[in-house]
């Protein structure tokens, strides 16, 4: 008898008074898939979290290969060979595929990150899964299925012996599900033990070798999949006779309420025509991306169609916006309950009345509370929502109840046409049945319903007619009497029109063609490769243009002395900008830099004044120490107390600046009282250029190398791209955030010391706008304010550009009061420009992917 790779014995977990898991046993064997079934709240996700190291069990034992072990954290789970793939892959959108696979564990060579090896190994891993994805592209352009593949590659890269897949198929198309199934077969052959969790009973029985069913935290039974039927499975899951899955009521179907002719738009929807009659449920079936939701969004006024005619009750309708669509009598329950459906912080009442609130008002827009409460209570009761009352906050409800609230919300406007996009996705069997019952009743009372679903059984059970979408067009249409599940699935994946076959033969679709994973990478790189390299190149270009422009008006610009002035004035801002760049890459911001520089400058100058015989090095150390201390306070506030950086540094800006002013008491320390050796720092030249400039260049290159070739540097990018994923991956996000603030402080401390050397006079109000100059330099330098991308070289170039601008303004005799306005305009212009670029890139990528999703179109 082979020993299980992982054995859970008697696992119990409590949250407060609630026992979420009661003495659950589970065994996973190498090369086998173990399916886990159960309703919402049965304990599946808690079990996953325990295996993944996120929660420790309250009692029970975990044995790995027969030896007892504890899993301390998600990083520890990975170390022990357990990899968990969540429903929404925790990846880093701005980082490349290769980096995502090896995040936190990048291969190293001679102390630095080995990019070549990283790329090669990630390519190999993905190939072993028969996925050909260009490992250099950023993950944000990839589809969900491709991201799951990357997660699996990640798991393989740590030699995971146990793979936990938490609802991997809920949001991907059937074709992608088949592909995933293939990958799982590969993994089985490699001897990996797999725990597979899904809502789909079919998949549970098809994928699993063994099935365990949980109910209310207890293990009900474990059986070989071959010994279970779907009906039996459901019975074990809900504990009683399942009854009718789909209680379809007979409805009187009358005239057309909605008629659509020749609808085209959203880039790929072509010539869609259909009708929905009162009392009728029309099903939209198809793969993800086939165009069903896009059609619905056009009907609801979210996107504008390019062509076509929509008629509601015979009248031409052109829904301009959701509000207009609601007025036309159309209600739309969107696919994504959390992002598009509910305001989770609102009470049930506020959520339900949101679409029609402007009708529940007295004069002056004041809300009529009484009527609002009445309507909410009425509909909440009708939907049989389980809650303490309409004031309960929606985020405390279960998934099924939330969906019912959403349904109530869209019924309150008394729509003629109700469009439901995946209304039962991700909720338990009991709630699913209730929603089906409600929808049937609505139709029976005369509503026209469009039901969008990629669950063939659901659509067949509920609809009177079904339209199958494929690649943006209607592939087939059928009526209830002649529903054929196989024909529908075929139509969704492979359409025939007038006998002519569109697209590759069906075999090819079911079994993936060699090495043809849809990878838009090639097209993306071409479209954006040049654009994305623009930040540094474009900056140099802009710099040259400005220099040329100024020189033509004032040739003195290119004189050695002037160039030296420029480079010197850029130096100090550049060094601060390096720190600010790293802070912004980590998705933070530091507004206190000017104040930190002033503090360091004043304290070190004052020390030097009283210790003129002291070593310059000690001054430098003192200044740096001041900077580090102040930066550490920022670090404490943001990393430990979780105060948003913008307000934290706004506060410390005031405190530090006020502190220096108080400390200085109005005094000014001028160069005359300071030793010559101090001022020499700024005067020394090496190889024709000032020492300070060499120093800044060195620091820039140093930071550039560190952010590219050290694990810490790459981790900062990861954290900036997705802080939560970073935490999951075991990268101490708080540690790194603290680090970037301390670093910023250190650099400011350094600049503070240099300030006195460069400018000669030090008082409490120096560098009043430095935070502004630094952030401008960083933003202009192409570092995204959203974090996760950009380079310190860009920030340095940005600082240089501003220094050139400043010098140019002076030389050309332009009123110096124009400077700040010019700076402000420069920021706005650059940010608009970069965002325009990014949107162009995104659009190009979307076009290329769509044209590849329509086999039958010659690429």
């Amino acid at each position: 008898m082979v020993a299980p790779v992982i054995e859970l014995r008697g696992i119990t977990k409590r949250f407060g008074p609630v026992e979420v898991l009661s003495s659950v046993d589970l065994s996973l064997y190498a090369g086998q898939v173990h399916s886990l079934a159960g309703e919402n709240g049965a304990g599946k996700s808690t079990l996953v979290k325990i295996l993944g190291g996120i929660h420790p069990p309250d009692s029970g034992r975990i044995l790995k290969n027969g030896i007892e072990t504890t899993i301390l954290s998600s990083a520890d789970a990975r170390r022990q060979g357990i990899a968990v793939i969540h429903q929404h892959p925790a990846l880093f959108p701005d980082l490349s595929v290769a980096e995502n696979v090896f995040v936190g564990r990048q291969p190293r060579r001679m102390g630095g990150v080995d990019w070549a090896t990283m790329r090669r190994r990630s390519r190999e891993l993905l190939s072993s899964l028969r996925m050909e994805i260009d490992v250099r592209v950023p993950v944000k352009i990839l589809s969900l299925a491709e991201r799951q593949a990357i997660e699996i590659a990640k798991a393989l890269s740590v030699d995971a012996r146990v793979l936990v897949m938490d609802e991997p198929t809920s949001t991907i198309s059937s074709r992608e599900v088949d592909r995933l199934f293939e990958i799982v077969e590969q993994l089985k052959q490699q001897g990996v033990a797999i725990l597979f969790i899904s809502h789909f009973i079919d998949e549970i029985l098809r994928w699993g070798d063994e099935v365990t069913i949980l109910r209310s935290g207890k293990r009900i039974i474990t059986l070989p999949a071959a010994d279970l039927t779907p009906e039996q499975t459901v019975r074990y899951m809900i504990g009683t006779e399942p009854g009718a899955f789909f209680p379809k009521e007979d409805a009187q179907i009358s005239g057309p309420v909605l008629s659509v002719r020749g609808l085209s738009g959203a880039g790929f929807v072509e010539n869609v025509s259909f009708e929905v009659r009162a009392g009728e449920i029309l099903g939209f079936f198809g793969l993800v991306g086939a165009g069903r939701s896009e059609v619905a969004q056009m009907l609801f006024g979210i996107t504008k169609p390019d062509r076509g005619e929509i008629r509601v009750d015979g009248q031409i309708a052109r829904p301009r916006s959701p509000r207009h669509a609601i007025q036309l009598g159309i209600s739309f329950l969107p696919e994504d309950r959390h992002q598009q459906g509910l305001v989770l912080q609102f009470p049930i009442r506020a959520n339900e009345t949101l679409p029609i609130l402007r009708q529940l008002v007295h004069r002056l827009g004041l809300v009529d509370r009484a009527r609002e409460g009445q309507i909410a209570r009425d509909f909440t009761a009708r939907m049989r929502v389980v809650a303490t009352g309409v004031e309960q906050r929606t985020n405390t409800l279960s998934g099924g109840n939330q969906q019912k609230v959403l349904l109530a919300k869209w019924l309150i406007p008394s729509p003629k046409i109700l469009i439901l996009d995946e209304p039962t996705r991700g909720i338990d069997v009991g709630a699913k049945a209730e929603i089906h019952r409600i929808v049937s009743q609505l139709a029976a009372h005369g509503m026209a319903v469009i039901l969008i679903s990629d669950d063939a059984r659901e659509v067949i059970g509920m609809a009177d007619r079904i339209i199958v979408f494929r690649g943006g067009v209607i592939a087939s249409e059928s009526v209830r009497a002649s529903f054929d599940r196989e024909a529908m699935l075929l139509a969704a994946a492979h359409a025939t029109r007038e006998g002519r076959t569109l697209g590759p033969p069906m075999d090819a679709l079911v079994r993936p063609v060699e090495g043809t994973t849809v990878s838009p990478a090639g097209r993306w790189r071409v479209a954006t490769g040049r654009l994305m390299r623009v930040p540094e190149l474009g900056l140099v270009l802009a710099l040259l243009i400005i220099c040329a422009a100024v020189t033509t008006r004032e040739p003195r610009f290119l004189q050695g002395e002037n160039l030296e002035q420029i480079s010197l004035s850029a130096t100090l801002v550049c060094i601060v900008a390096l720190g600010e760049a790293v802070v912004i890459i980590a998705k933070q911001v530091d507004l206190s830099v000017g104040a930190m520089v002033a503090a360091s400058a004043f304290i070190s100058a004052e020390w030097l004044e009283h210790h003129p015989e002291g070593w310059i090095l000690s001054v430098v150390l003192l200044g740096c120490a001041v900077g580090v201390a102040l930066g550490a306070v920022n670090a404490l506030l943001v990393a430990v107390f979780r105060i948003p950086a913008i307000v934290a540094t706004l506060g410390t800006l005031a405190i530090y600046r006020g502190g220096v002013i108080v400390l200085a008491g109005g005094r000014q320390i001028s160069a005359t009282v300071l030793p010559d050796s101090y001022g020499d720092i700024a005067r020394i030249h090496v190889a024709g250029a000032p020492l300070l400039v060499w120093f800044a260049v060195l620091l820039t290159v140093g930071f550039g190398l560190a952010t590219r070739f050290t694990r810490t540097g790459r981790n900062v990018y990861a954290i900036g791209s997705n802080q939560e994923s970073a935490r999951f991956a075991g990268i101490g996000d708080r540690r790194h955030i603290a680090l970037v603030f301390i670093l910023s402080g250190l650099l400011c401390g350094l600049v503070g010391v240099l300030w006195g050397a460069r400018f000669g006079t030090v008082d409490a109000v120096i560098a009043p706008d430095l935070h502004f100059q630094a952030i401008s330099a960083v933003v202009v330098g192409g570092v995204s304010i959203f974090g996760g991308s950009g380079s310190v070289y860009g920030a340095a170039l940005g600082a240089l550009i501003f220094a050139v601008l400043q010098n140019g303004v002076q030389l050309l005799g332009i009123n110096r009061f124009w400077l700040q306005a010019v700076f402000g305009a420069a920021i706005l212009f650059t940010v608009l420009f970069y965002s325009h670029l990014a949107r162009r890139a995104e659009r190009a990528e979307r076009q290329s992917r769509r044209s590849q999703q329509r086999p039958g179109r010659i690429p």
Binding site: G41, L354, L366, G651, L653, F817, Q820, G824
Partner: protein, 340 residues
């Protein structure tokens, strides 16, 4: 602490916990102030304190709305400076005061409109945009006014900033503020437009899909910010009896401090105006008491910054507690539903 949708009605029971706490702090401030100096409770001192806080208070009203929607406007100080500069230039050139005021209001509203335009239609983060306009607007103010200043305001104008109503200690500017406050409070807490702002701050996607015109709402709050900044410019220049291009530099700090102290969540979606009002009073009288105790404006700045930080630490802790409670709630709720 006020959180989430329940804050749409500020008088809702336990919801007002933070406001009540602030009220105690305000009372405490008065007691301490009275201890510190015997001038504290005099009518002239109170009117100075109130008059001094009015410009920031007026700007705090639309700032609350902006932060509730999840955005921010750091350029308010510069808009005030710009309006002050515009008015000064008008008055230098002999225009009547009323015309200068009107033009100032137009310019301020326009500045706010441009902020909104870039944020909404450029789809850019408001932080970066308003950092840019902070510089741009201040720069324009400097261009048109350079280092000059205007101080020849007529008496009635100066009364707006400094004068009191009859024999009472209540300044005219406070009356203006109270009227504006009532308007904004009703708007935010009792109208459907106000609730739309909370929806936007909590879940932009859901707000959009629910038929809320998100673009118009956001544009509106930025315009309001610009318009109120122009009013604040009038009151501030009246109070200082001077209009310069560096008027109101750094005003965004006390404004944002007051809003955050008042219980408005910096990430959006929660907070009340009455809370902000109490916070404004607390800050005004704390600064006033400190001033009477001989503490310089710079030291007061330290206090303001510290207040901001301490408030946020407290909120951060409370937030963590709340999230833990919700996790427990959910597991309770889930168990209930499976027994359906």
């Amino acid at each position: 602490m006020t959180t989430g949708g329940r804050s749409t009605t500020w008088w809702h029971g336990s919801l007002a916990r933070w406001e009540i706490f602030l009220l105690f702090v305000l009372i405490g401030t008065f007691l301490c102030g009275a201890q510190t100096s015997r001038y504290f409770l005099t009518s002239s001192n109170i009117s100075i304190a109130l008059a001094g806080m009015t410009p920031a208070a007026i700007v705090a009203l639309p700032m609350t709305l902006i932060i509730v929607t999840g955005e921010i406007d750091i350029s308010v100080g510069s808009i005030i400076g710009l309006c002050a500069a515009v008015m000064a230039v008008c008055l230098e050139n002999g225009l009547p005061v009323e015309a200068a005021m009107l033009l100032g209001i137009v310019i301020g509203t326009l500045a706010g409109f441009i902020n909104g335009l870039i944020v909404v239609y450029g789809a850019l983060p408001s932080l970066v945009v308003t950092i840019g306009t902070l510089a741009l607007y201040r720069g324009i103010a400097q261009i048109i006014l350079n280092e000059r200043g205007f101080s020849g305001f007529p008496q009635w104008y100066q009364d707006l900033g400094f004068g009191t109503i009859g024999a009472t200690p209540v300044p005219w500017s406070s009356l203006i503020f109270v009227v504006l406050f009532i308007g904004f409070a009703v708007f935010l807490h009792a109208t459907h437009w106000g609730r739309a702002l909370y929806a936007i701050g909590n879940n932009l996607g859901a707000a959009r899909f629910s038929g809320i015109n998100v673009k118009r709402s956001l544009l509106g709050v930025f315009i309001a910010s610009g318009a109120m900044s122009s009013l604040a410019a009038i009151i501030l220049t009246a109070y200082l009896a001077s209009a310069r291009s560096d008027t109101a530099i750094g005003l965004e700090l006390p404004v944002i401090t007051a809003v955050v102290l008042g219980g408005v969540n910096i990430f959006g979606g929660a907070g009340t105006l009455p809370g902000v009002l109490i916070a404004l009073l607390v800050l005004a009288f704390v600064q006033n008491a400190l001033g009477l105790a001989g503490i310089t404006p710079e030291e007061q700045q330290i206090v303001t910054g510290s207040v901001l930080i301490v408030t946020l630490i407290v909120f951060g802790a409370a937030d963590i507690l709340r999230k833990t409670r919700i996790t427990l709630w959910r597991s309770r709720g889930v168990t209930r539903s499976t027994r359906d």
